[in-house]
Amino acid sequence: MAEEEQGSTQILDADREVCVEVRNLWKVFGPNPRQVVEDPELRNASKDRILQDTGCVVGLRDVSFEVRRGEFFVLMGLSGSGKSTLIRCVIRLAEPTAGSVLINGDDIVPYDDDKLGELRRSTTGMVFQHFGLLPHRSVLDNVAYGLKVRGVPEAERYERAQVYIEKVGLKGWEHHLPAALSGGMQQRVGIARALTGDPEILLLDEPFSGLDPLIRRQMQDELMDLQAELQKTLLFVTHDLTEALKVADRMAIMRDGEIIQIGSPEEVITNPSDSYVRQFVQDASPTKVLTARSVMEQPPVLLYSWQGPKAALQILRDANVDSAFVVARKGRLLGMVTVEGLVRLIRRRGTRLRDALDPDLATCSADAVVEDLVPMVAASRYPVAVVDEDERFLGEVYVSTIIATMIREQEEEEEEEEEKASVEQAEVVDEDTGVTREDSSPTGDSGEGAKS
C-alpha cells in the first residue's frame, strides 16, 4: 500500500482539479489594441512588425496554462517577458485584451467591479516585489488590511492577523511601522497579509527579487514550509531560474510574451525545449541546482549494526578506508564508525557497533542542493550521508565532490564576466564555455581542497 501511494504522487497531481486556467490570453498595449487580436494576419506577425504597423506593443501573445489545486506553479522569464503582466491579468490588475481567465471554472474576464472585488477579497491574495505595504499603518494593521477591506470587525481581524504574524516569525513587531523593518521582514509582512484572508490562490510577483541572496534563500525555505502546511495554490513569478527550480512543482518559461515551455523542473533541465531555455539552464549555478541525489556516490563499504566490532574493523581494513556508515535493519542509518573508534571499542571489550558510533555525523535529504551541504562539510571531517524521509541510507557525498562543484561554478562566473559583453549571442557563449572548461582541471584542485 505504502509503496503504491508513493509511486503515484505524480499521477495524483495530474488528477487534481484545475484551480486557475488561462486560455489564449492576449495583452496588447497601445492605441486600439483589439485590432491586433482580431486581425488574423497580425496575430501571427512578429512583435516588431506589429509595432511598426499599428503602434501597439504585444505584452502577452496567446498564452495558455493551467494550475492545479495545491500546486506550486512558477512563471519564469527575463524582465520584459510578460510574466508580471500575466500574473496581473489573472486577477485583472491588468486588463486582458482577449482570452479568458478561469478561476475555479468561472471566467473572470467579464466580471464587473463588484464581482471582481469580491473575487479579490475572498479567493486570492497577492505578494508584491516592492511589498506595497501601507507606510502609515503598523505591521498589525497591514497584515489585517485584507480583512479590513472585507469589513471584518477590528478585534477579530487583529486576532486573525496575529496568527499569521507569528507564522511568519514577526511576533513582537506588530506595532512597528513597515519602515522600521528590513526588506526581508517587510516581505514577511507582505506574505502574512496575503495569507491572513485565507485565500485559495496566492499570487506572488517576484516576492524575493529585492532581497539579498542569503535572506532570499531563507525566505524561499519558509515559503515552502508554509506551503507544505497550508496547501494553497501558488502562482509565483520570478526571473531567477535557481529559485524556480527550487520551489516549483511545475514551471512555465516565458519569452517575449509567450510561454515556450511548461514542465516540472527536472523536465525543463533535462530536456530544454529550445536554445533559449538551454541558455537559461546553463546560467544556473551548479551548487544551487545539483541535488545531493545527483552527486552522491555509493560507499565502498557499509557496516550493519548486527556485525561485531572485530568483523567491522576487518572489513574497513580490507577496503582500505578509515570510516564507514552503519545501518540498522531496513537500511536505516545509525551513524558512522572510524577505525580508531572500533579499536577503542575492542580494547574496552565492547561488542556492539552502536557503542562506537562517532557523534560527528552530518546527514541531508536527497533533495538538498549542494550549496546547503557546504556548511556541513565545513564542520565535519567525514562525507555527508544522504538519507530519505525514513532515515534510510541512500548514499554519501564527499567533501571533494562539493568543492569540485564550487570550483566549477566559480570558473563559470569568471567566464561569464569575460563574456558579459557578448551575452546576446547564445551560441558563441556555448562554444566558449565548452572550450574553457576543458582547459582547466578542477579535479586536481579539489583533491587538495579535500585534504585541507
Partner: protein
C-alpha cells in the same frame, strides 16, 4: 505701418463685461445664496473671536504654538506678538482679520480638497484646470475685486469671495500632487485585496497625501493673509483697512504699526500651520 493693426482688436473686455452683467442680472438668486453662506461663515468666526476675552485667545495661541512647535520659545514669542498687536490698540481689528482669514481658508479647503481629488483622478480635468489655476495665481489680485464688488456689493462678502479665489489654488494643486504622488505599488496592493476606489481614497491616498495637503493648507493660509490688505479696499474691516487709511492720510507711524501687526500675524499663522504640517510626516500609528 509700424503700429499693431488696429482692426485686430479682440473685444475680450466687452465680452467679460457683458458676462459679468449677465450673471448679476440672471443669477442673482444664486449669488445671494453664495453671499449668505460666505457671510454666515465669516460672521461666525468674527463673533467667536471677538467674544472670547483677549487672554483666552492669547493662552490658546500659546498652547497651540507649544503643541505644534515643541520649543520653549514658541509660545513666548508667538504669544508676545499678540501682546504687541494688542498694545498698538489693534486687538479687535486683528481678530477681524483673523476671522476673515479663517473663513476664507475653511471655504478654500471645502472647495479645494475635493477639486484636488477630482484633479488627481482625471487627467482631462487636470489638463483643463491647470491653466485656470495658473491664471488665478498670476492675475493681479486687484482684478478679482471688481467682479466681486459687482456680484456682492461692498463689504465683507466680496472680500471673502476675492480672498477665496486668490487663496484656493495652492490647496488644489498640493492635494492633486499629494494624491498623484502616492506610490502605485501601494495602490495596486490595495486593489489586489479588493479595496473599492472609495476605500483606496480614504484609507490609502488621502492619508498618504496628507503631508502634502497640509503644506497646501499652509500656503493657502498665507495667500489669504496677503489678500487681506487688498480686500480692505472693498470694505472689509481689519488691519488692512488701517494700512489703507494710513496710506491715504500719509501717517507713516500708524501705517507701520498696522503693517507690523500684519507681519506678526503672518509669522504666527505660518509657524504654527507649518509645524503642524511637518508634524504629520512623523506621526506614529495610533496604537
Amino acid at each position: 505701418m509700424m503700429d499693431f493693426p488696429g482692426f485686430l482688436k479682440l473685444p475680450l473686455a466687452g465680452w467679460i463685461d457683458s458676462a459679468v452683467s449677465w450673471i448679476v442680472v440672471n443669477l442673482g438668486a444664486i449669488l445671494d445664496v453664495i453671499g449668505d453662506v460666505l457671510l454666515g461663515v465669516l460672521v461666525a468666526f468674527e463673533r467667536a473671536l471677538l467674544w472670547l476675552p483677549w487672554f483666552v485667545v492669547l493662552i490658546g495661541v500659546a498652547v497651540l504654538a507649544w503643541f505644534a512647535i515643541r520649543k520653549w520659545w514658541a509660545p513666548v514669542l508667538l504669544g508676545g506678538f499678540l501682546v504687541i498687536i494688542g498694545s498698538f490698540g489693534y486687538w479687535d481689528l486683528a481678530m477681524m482679520t483673523l476671522a476673515l482669514i479663517f473663513a476664507a481658508v475653511v471655504i478654500s479647503l471645502l472647495i479645494g480638497i475635493p477639486t484636488g481629488i477630482a484633479m488627481a483622478r482625471s487627467d482631462t480635468f487636470a489638463g483643463v484646470l491647470r491653466p485656470i489655476l495658473d491664471g488665478m495665481q498670476t492675475m493681479p489680485s486687484f482684478v478679482y475685486l471688481i467682479p466681486a464688488l459687482m456680484f456682492f456689493g461692498l463689504g465683507k462678502v466680496p472680500a471673502v469671495f476675492a480672498t477665496v479665489i486668490y487663496a484656493v489654488p495652492p490647496v488644489i494643486r498640493l492635494t492633486n500632487v499629494g494624491i498623484r504622488g502616492v506610490s502605485q505599488s501601494v495602490i495596486e496592493a490595495a486593489k489586489a485585496f479588493g479595496a473599492t476606489s472609495r476605500q483606496i481614497l480614504w484609507e490609502v491616498q488621502l492619508p498618504l497625501a496628507f503631508p502634502s495637503i497640509m503644506v497646501g493648507i499652509n500656503q493657502t493660509t498665507m495667500m489669504a493673509l496677503a489678500m487681506v490688505v487688498i480686500a480692505s479696499m472693498i470694505g472689509a474691516r481689519g488691519l488692512g483697512m488701517e494700512v489703507l487709511l494710513a496710506i491715504n492720510r500719509i501717517e507713516v507711524g500708524r501705517g507701520f504699526e498696522a503693517g507690523l501687526s500684519i507681519v506678526m500675524l503672518a509669522i504666527l499663522i505660518d509657524r504654527i500651520t507649518h509645524a503642524l504640517a511637518a508634524r504629520q510626516q512623523h506621526t506614529k500609528p495610533s496604537h
